[in-house]
Amino acid sequence: MNQMAALVDPMVPAPFRIERVKKELSDTFTLDLVPAERKRSISFLPGQFNMLYVFGVGEIPISISGDPGVGDKIVHTTRAVGNVTNAMWKMGVGQTIGVRGPFGTAWPVEEAEGSDVVIVTGGIGLAPLRPAIYQILANRQAYGNVCIMYGARTPEDILFRKELEKWRGQFDMQVDVTVDHATGRWGGKVGVVTKLIGRGGFDPHHTVAFVCGPEVMMRYAVDTLVERGVSEKDIHVSLERNMKCGIGFCGHCQLGGDFVCKDGPVFPFDAVADRFVIQEL
C-alpha cells in the first residue's frame, strides 16, 4: 500500500520554463520550453501531445511541434482561441508552464519508409505534423516521393511559411499551398486543400498518408485519397476531442471504444472509419 502511494501521480505536471516565444501569425505562437527544475532529456514521437497547464487557468492538450531529434527542449505551437490558449498567448520568457506528457500515439514515420508519403493538412494542423516532416527529412533517402499539401484561410494565415518555402526549394519534395481567400498579392492557388490531392505526384498503391485538420476537411481528404487508390489502412488521421487527463482516466475523449488520448490521437483510418460517419458519437 505505501509502496503504491509512493508512485508518482500522472495528473501532477512538471514545471517547465518558457525559453523563447515566437509569434507565428496574428493568433498563433510557438513556445520553446525547458525543464525548470532538474535537467532531463526530452523524447517524444511525432504526433504526440502534452497537457499544458497555465497557472490557475487550466490545462489543455497541445501537440508537440518541434524536432524529435532535438532532445533538450519541447516546442509547442498554439492558436489562441479561448481561455487557456489566450492566457498562454500573453505569457513571456521566464514564466512557468506545467507539462504532463508526452501522451498518445504517433504518426507511423518509420513504418512509412520505402513508401511515398503524402501529408494533407490545414491551418494549425501543420503543427502536429512538423515533427514528422523533420524526421522524414532527417532520413530523406529512405522514402519515395514526399508531398505536403497545406491549406490556410488566407495568405496571412500560412503557418511556418519560411519553412514551407525552404522545403519547397529543396528539390526533394513537393510542397503545395492553397488558400481559401486570396488577399494582397497572392498569386498562388485558391481553393480547398483536398483539390491538391488529385494533382499530387505519388503512387497511390505505395503511399502512406498523414492527415490533420478540422474533421470535415479530414473527411474530404480521406475520400479523395481513397478515390485515388490509397488504402484506408495507409491513411492516418489525428483526432481532436475534449481532454482532461490524457491518460484514459477522465472519459472525456471517448470515441466509441477508443480513448482518443491513449488509443489516439493518431489512428489508422480503417480503425475509426465506422465511427467517422456517425454524427455526434
Binding site: A5, V12, P15, G94, E240, G248, F249, G251, I278
Partner: protein
Amino acid sequence: MTANKSTNQAFVIDADKGLQKLIAVLAAEGYQVVGPRLEDGAIVYAELASSADLPVGVKDKQDGGNYRIVKGREGVYFDYVVGPHSWKRYLFPPEQKICEFRRQGKAFRIVEETPDVPAYAFIGARPCELQAMQIHDRVFDNGEFADPAYLARRDAAFVVAVNCTQAGGTCFCASMNTGPKASGGFDLALTEIAEKSRHVFVVEVGSQRGQEIVAKLKGAAATDGDVSKADALVKKAAAKMGREMVDDVGPLLKRNLESNRWYEISKRCLSCANCTLVCPTCFCNTVEDVTDLTGANAVRNRRWDSCFTMDFSYIHGGSIRREGASRYRQWMTHKLSSWFDQFEQSGCVGCGRCITWCPVGIDITQEARAIRDSEGRA
C-alpha cells in the same frame, strides 16, 4: 481486497453478537468502518460506530423512478439491496485535490499532495458492487497509467461482502453474471440466515486478512446444512429477479448506433446525470484549476463529471454531443457495449440504480429490449 478465491472453509456467527464483534474487531484493527445507514429515507453508506448504526428490520421498495423504505422482517440486517450510494465515493471520492501550485515571481512551484488513504472496512458490499470495484481497478490502472491514490485506498480497504437473499425491484445482476452471490473480490462474505429459531451469518473467507479477522470472531465451523441453506436463499433471490438484460447487448447496440430509439428516449431523458452519479462504475471526472483570492496559490482538483453535460464533449467551436439523444447513446453504449472494447468486460453490473434514481424512470434493460425488438423493422 486481496486474494480472489474464497477458501472452502466457512464459519457461522451469531447475527447480533457476531456482527457487533466483527465491527468492533475491525475498528480495533484501525479500520474506518463504513456501511449501510438509514438517512433521510434512503440506505446510504456512512461511517458506523457499531452495529447499532445498521438499519435493522427495513426493506426497500424499488422501481423505475421510485425508492421507498418500508418495514421488513423484524431483526433482519440485510433485507434491503443497494441505495443511491456506492463504494466509489470512498475509493474514488467525488472531489479530490491533486496538487497545489505556489506562485514565485514569474514562476511557480508545484506542491504535491500526499493522498488521503484511510483504511476503510466496507460492511455489506453486494456482489454487484464487488464487480464494480474490480471494474474500477482496471480503469485506474490501465496498464500504461495508474492512479496511485485510488490504488492505495483500494489496497487498504477490507471488504465484507453480503450475499443477496432478496432481489431488489430494479436488480438484474443474475443476467449480468455479477450476483446475487459473490464469487470473489472480498475478504469476508456473509450470508444472512434469519429463521424464527436461529439468526446467523454464514461467513466465507476470501483472503489471508479475512482469515485473521475471522479467527478473532470465534465462530463455529459451518455445517454442510448451513452452507446449503445459505446457497438456497441466494438462489431464490436470483429466481425472483424482476429484470433482465437482453443477450449479446454489446454487439446489439453497436449495430444500432443510428437507431431512432435514441431520439425517442431523449424525449423523456432530462439529461440530469443522476444515472451516472449513482452508477457504481461511472468513472468520468474533470479537472478544475482554480486560484485563491490572492492569486498566489492555485489548486488542482479532480471531481466527478458526467457525459450528460454539454461541457463534457466541448471543443473549440462547440460540443460534440449537442443532442440529448447522442448523450444518452454515449451513456448506454458505453456501459453495455464500448466498455468491452476498452476493458474487455461489461461496464454495467446490473445493480439497477440508474433505473431507480432516474426521475422519469428510464429503464436501461427495457431500452435495450426495445432496440432489439426494433431490429428488422426499419
